[in-house]
């Protein structure tokens, strides 16, 4: 009797499993590596899988830097995931080559694209629109702001709540009081820029040149204008801190693998990094830090760098599956507060600041500051050759900062390289 029961149960179980797997249509999702972000994604997926056992999600994440190369290789060999996360700066590289499926706002529950835009912060979808169609659904709106070390300010006789810098000149002025030297060795930098990535260099440079009223590329996107007066001024800002001896000239790609290592360690008093650092530093470190708005040339006309990550759909999968992926996207972005709490990145929803429960974060996690910067924020200019442009500017910056080369000469050289790149068909 017992044996029969066991046999029947096992057959039943096997049949159920077989049946489930026969009907299961997994959806694959690729992301870049970022621990708080990945953990939240996994939570969402566990939830989705419980509710949709027939269409489980297979989630994979990859080391950040090679992730996009892997994506490119996979797209070119038609072996990419059904859904993948992309960064906004690379959107043109993909959209101009038809490697992303257009997003259908109707499948996400909106009437059309304009309707969808009203649900997002003004301008926050622009980075993902190409020729009138949307190609990515953002779930993160990242912005750069200035983090200062309270303790260092107080030690130097400054009030971190009143005396924090608003302009680049302020940083220079205040910085002189914060820097610490041991003979000729700088033991504590007052301020520094990250040097580890040409993308970060562009985020800084792009915002500063706009603060001076210029642009890196002209309106057609085919000519470099970074060596204009605005560009030279922007580069001078960059070089200023080394010259004024509040940044350590020996800090560079080779010494600082990742930027925000120095800030939590107290080796630099003021540093620009993005909103997600709040989660990555943790509450202990954040006790000593304060976030203030991104430094400006003219605080009346603020410009700050924003970027974001969005979910995109693989155009090579059949339409029915694309619809299913849209359901998944809707599911993933349904809880802006959840995204914010887990990743500390603001979410670009238009009603974000008024969501229930957000007030606390506004007080304790500087959300107001980040949102202010987002409102003044602008995406880096769109160009399929963005990576080459970044590289040219980065090299120009290296020449100026590490070698003391003249900014105009350096930018002229950079523009030459950029024009060559843009001349490609």
């Amino acid at each position: 009797m017992k044996r029969h029961l066991v046999a029947r149960l096992s057959i039943g179980l096997a049949a159920a499993l077989l049946g489930a797997s026969a009907l299961a249509q997994p959806i694959t999702w690729w992301e870049h590596s970022n621990p708080p972000h990945n953990n939240y994604s996994k939570e969402l997926i566990a939830d989705w899988n419980a509710k949709n056992p027939k269409t489980p999600v297979q989630y994979e994440f990859f080391a950040m830097t090679p992730y996009f190369q892997k994506l490119t290789a996979a797209l070119s060999t038609r072996s990419a995931a059904d859904m993948f996360t992309v960064i906004d700066t690379l959107m043109p590289s993909y959209t101009t080559k038809n490697t992303l499926a257009p997003i259908h706002p109707e499948w996400l529950g909106y009437k059309n694209l304009d309707d969808m835009k009203t649900h997002y912060l003004p301008g926050s979808l622009d980075g993902y629109i190409y020729q009138g169609k949307l190609y990515g659904v953002p779930m993160i709106a990242a912005v750069f702001s200035l983090y200062i070390n309270r303790k260092h300010f107080i030690e130097a006789g400054l009030d971190p709540d009143k005396d924090y810098p608003r302009t680049w000149d302020d940083i220079g002025r205040i910085g002189k009081k914060l820097v610490k030297m041991d003979g000729s060795k700088m033991t504590r930098e007052a301020f520094d820029f990250a040097m580890h990535s040409s993308t970060w260099t562009m985020w800084y440079f792009n915002s500063i040149i706009r603060q001076y009223g210029g642009e890196v590329l002209d309106a057609s996107g085919k000519k470099c204008t970074a060596n204009s007066e605005a560009g030279v001024n922007a580069m001078k800002v960059r070089a200023m801190f080394v010259q004024e001896k509040i940044s350590d000239p020996t800090v560079s790609f080779a010494t600082n693998a990742l930027p925000a290592d120095d800030l939590p360690k107290g080796q630099v008093s003021m540093f620009i990094t993005h909103a997600g650092s709040v989660a990555q530093f943790g509450p202990e470190v954040m006790k000593d830090l304060k976030v203030v708005p991104y430094p400006q040339v003219n605080p009346q006309k603020p410009v700050s760098p924003v970027y974001g990550f969005a979910l995109a759909v693989n155009p090579q999968i059949p339409e029915a599956k694309q619809k299913l992926v849209h359901d998944l996207i809707k599911f993933v972005v349904k809880d802006p507060k959840g995204w914010y709490e887990k990743t500390a990145y603001p979410y670009p929803a238009s009603n974000f600041l008024t969501l229930p429960g957000i007030e606390d974060a506004r007080k304790t996690r500087y959300l107001d500051v980040f949102m202010q910067d987002i409102r003044g924020g602008r995406f880096v200019q769109r160009s399929p050759q963005i990576l080459e442009i970044n590289e040219a500017i980065h090299r120009a910056m290296e020449r100026v900062v590490l070698k003391g080369e003249n900014p105009k000469a350096s930018l002229d050289q950079g523009c030459k390289e950029i024009d060559t790149a843009l001349a490609q068909p």
Partner: protein
């Protein structure tokens, strides 16, 4: 029955006189081919065919996502016109020679050293060959830290009164710093190969020479070097070919900088293809790299005629 003479050639000749033995001769020859076949097939499929594909692609414009478009020599023209490519080319040449040539001598020195009977030889050998075991990512990270302005190298230099140098961020020193790592990693490997070669030189030659009154230097010049020549050639060629492929260190440690002074050709190629989506141009650059290495190898093989096709 003829006796077995030294060397296949002689015996082959003898057997050729006897028509009945022809089958053995061909059996011998074709056996050799079949031994090589599995490896050859594998390399043809997974290395040679992709190489040909890359050659073909160098005449197309290909961004990995749209179909390739034939453009003839446009890619090569673009490379020729691009100063960044020229810079990368010479960086590679400097790196290749900078790493290989010292390796040839230092590795030999190491092998000679370790070939002597001395107390604790096995321990010393172990210590010297250990870097072979270290994975390249770890090497990159460890050395990056050692080259830090406040890192180990500078600390030691300060002890000797020399000032601090920003090794990886100064244009003049960045490449040399990477070359030093390449040599550090290569010496144990080639030392092992030299050592095996040294060990296979029969002792009697040395004994005979010593009885003739030849000193260590003369023994080295007249016995060691000539008999070691195939190994030397091998090390020379392999060290060049290994040095040409390096790209992880510049990628992780300097990002190709400062100002492109460490952007070796493989890095340039990878960036052009995968970051800038100009796969055709990347393929063209890789053909240039290939020709460079091919020519260098040919020169080496010619210069030291011995030991190649024999």
């Amino acid at each position: 029955m003829q006796s077995v003479g030294p060397g296949t050639l002689a015996s082959e000749r003898r057997w050729a006189v006897w028509p009945g033995r022809m089958s053995i001769r061909s059996r011998l020859r074709w056996a050799g081919f079949f031994f090589v076949l599995p490896a050859l097939l594998h390399l043809l499929i997974f290395k040679f065919y992709p190489l040909l594909e890359a050659f073909r692609l160098s005449f197309y414009r290909y961004d990995l996502m749209s179909p390739p478009v034939f453009t003839g020599l446009a890619n090569y023209q673009a490379l020729w016109d691009n100063p960044l490519f020229h810079q990368s080319f010479w960086v590679s040449v400097k790196y290749m020679l900078g790493v290989s040539v010292p390796e040839w001598f230092l590795a030999l020195g190491l092998a000679l050293l370790l070939n002597r009977a001395m107390p604790g030889r096995s321990v010393i050998r172990l210590a010297y060959f250990f870097p072979i075991a270290m994975s390249q990512i770890v090497v990159a990270m460890v050395w990056k830290f050692m080259y830090h302005p406040h890192g180990l190298v500078n600390t030691l230099l300060e002890v000797f009164g020399v000032g601090r140098i920003n090794w990886l961020s100064t244009e003049e020193t960045a490449l040399a710093s990477l070359i030093a790592i390449g040599i550090w990693r290569g010496i144990p490997l080639f030392g092992v190969i030299y050592l095996a070669g040294l060990q296979s030189i029969p002792k009697d030659y040395y004994e005979a020479a010593m009885m003739d009154g030849a000193g260590p230097v003369r023994r080295f010049i007249h016995i060691t070097i000539p008999l070691l020549l195939p190994t030397i050639l091998f090390v020379m060629v392999i060290s060049l070919l290994s040095a040409v492929k390096v790209f992880l260190n510049p990628l992780v440690m300097t990002g190709g900088g400062p100002n492109g002074t460490t952007k070796v050709l493989p890095y340039y190629i990878y960036q052009t293809g995968f970051a800038y989506f100009r796969m055709g141009e990347a393929a063209a650059a890789s053909m240039v790299l290939f020709v460079l290495v091919f020519v260098l190898t040919l020169i080496l093989l010619r210069l030291l005629r011995q030991g190649d096709v024999k």
